[in-house]
Amino acid sequence: MAEYSALQVIRNALGGNEHWKPLWRKPDPKPAYNVIIVGGGGHGLATAYYLASEHGIANVAVLEKGWLGSGNIGRNTTIVRSNYLLPENAAFYEHSMKMWETLSHELNYNVMFSQRGIINLFHTPAQEDEAARRGNAMLLNGVDARFVRPEELGKRMPALDLAGSSRLPVLGGLEQPRAGTARHDAVAWGYARAADRRGVDIIENCEVTGFIRDGTRVTGVNTTRGDIYARKIGVAVAGSTSRVLAMAGIDALPIESHVLQAFVTESVKPCLDCVVTYGGGHLYISQSDKGGLVFGGDIDGYNSYAQRGNLPIVEDVMSEVVELFPAFAKLRLLRSWGGVMDMSMDGSPIITAGPLPGMYLNAGWCYGGFKATPASGFCFAHTIATDEPHPLNAAFSLDRFYRGYVLDEKGQGATPWKH
């Protein structure tokens, strides 16, 4: 099997690039598998890969209703970080960060993980204390963190307006230097290729339309390409979680679907070397390798499955961009889009066995599940393979809400659109 390398690129180029093989096969579904993963997003594909690579379970199918990576993996703002406050989240996301650091090698696919740092700006003394609280939590949890003072910020981001036009000067920032961005689509493709190579069937254009039940136990799925049986069925469908579980008779979950928009400008030469977030609102910016400035802000704030947003958020986000970077006012918005997010009631994820026998659930990623992809796949595979949560996802249970063990990073309570 041709492995990817610089040498191969040159060899193939000499052959007119005629000999490259498909990244994944296009198999027809088999009647039955050991494990079915519903959802060909980052998490579903990673889960399939780790089932095969960590647990030797290769008789696995990933069922994707559209084209692979058409969900949130294909539309996120690509930020990878582990700067969490709560220890449960910190441990999980830091594990993910470590996996990211070797992911391209592991997959033999360059996912372009660029550890250019993320800086959360703060603007008031109270915010500075909060930043210190978080930064100290990170260091005590073994995560890298440092304070960045305005002088350094000015040097690293010459276009940044430290004074702020309206009463919120930049007092400093909390940086996680190891954080950064990755090429979102490549993560899906890289996992798909690696899983395929280990025997996993990746089946596109195969929508799950129902569950086959034996009593309460889930034993298979109805799909647009026929019924498929499996001993275990993992659901990793992000924004579609409620819709899919409703097919199994679960009519309510601690999840709401909300749309988050993202934006990219026309490309320009490198002008922003790290990821930055604004503390005077809700905004994060980075620059893609192609040169576009990529922004995100608040979710639109109402239940939606529409994958597109509305104008007020567009205005808010652009207002914040030019507040921080008044030099960018003349740059131009090229494209905006939306994704449907699985907002959980405390803003933290769910990776668990259940809620029905034979079923496993991976959901509740809000707007932060891209960075989780490796650890999520790893833990979900563990949970499916062993029927026990991995210590890293033990806290991400479904019953934590009812028991009062919520993991509420933002302290917003059960108002999912505020997380």
């Binding site: 409620s242 309510a252 239940n303 499955y305 509305n310 009812y402 059960a414 659109w417």
Partner: protein, 90 residues
């Protein structure tokens, strides 16, 4: 999005704040209820349907009324807006 407030007329989304599923609000356990499971469900569980959704919005940047808005979560199309009255949602 433009929401037709029954009192103010059509107004921009930016004037409204969201309060979620109207059916959930209507099904809130009675004040003083000690049915823990009912409270768990009420506080944490959501139907989150794809399709028609009766929901509550407050015209916070206008008349501050609470509205019951029937909206399709797949298309954002609004088919019904009334001032919120608890009976309607039951």
């Amino acid at each position: 999005m433009i929401i037709p407030c029954p009192f103010c007329g059509p107004r921009d989304l930016a004037e409204f704040t969201y309060h979620g599923d109207a059916a959930r609000a209507a099904a809130r356990p009675a004040h003083g209820s000690t049915d823990q499971e009912a409270w768990d469900r009420h506080v944490y569980d959501r139907r989150n349907p794809a399709g028609s959704h009766a929901e509550i919005w407050q015209h916070a940047g206008g008349c501050r009324s609470h509205l019951r808005v029937v909206r399709d979560t797949r298309t954002h199309e609004i088919t019904e807006t009334t001032l919120y009255a608890p009976e309607v949602s039951q």
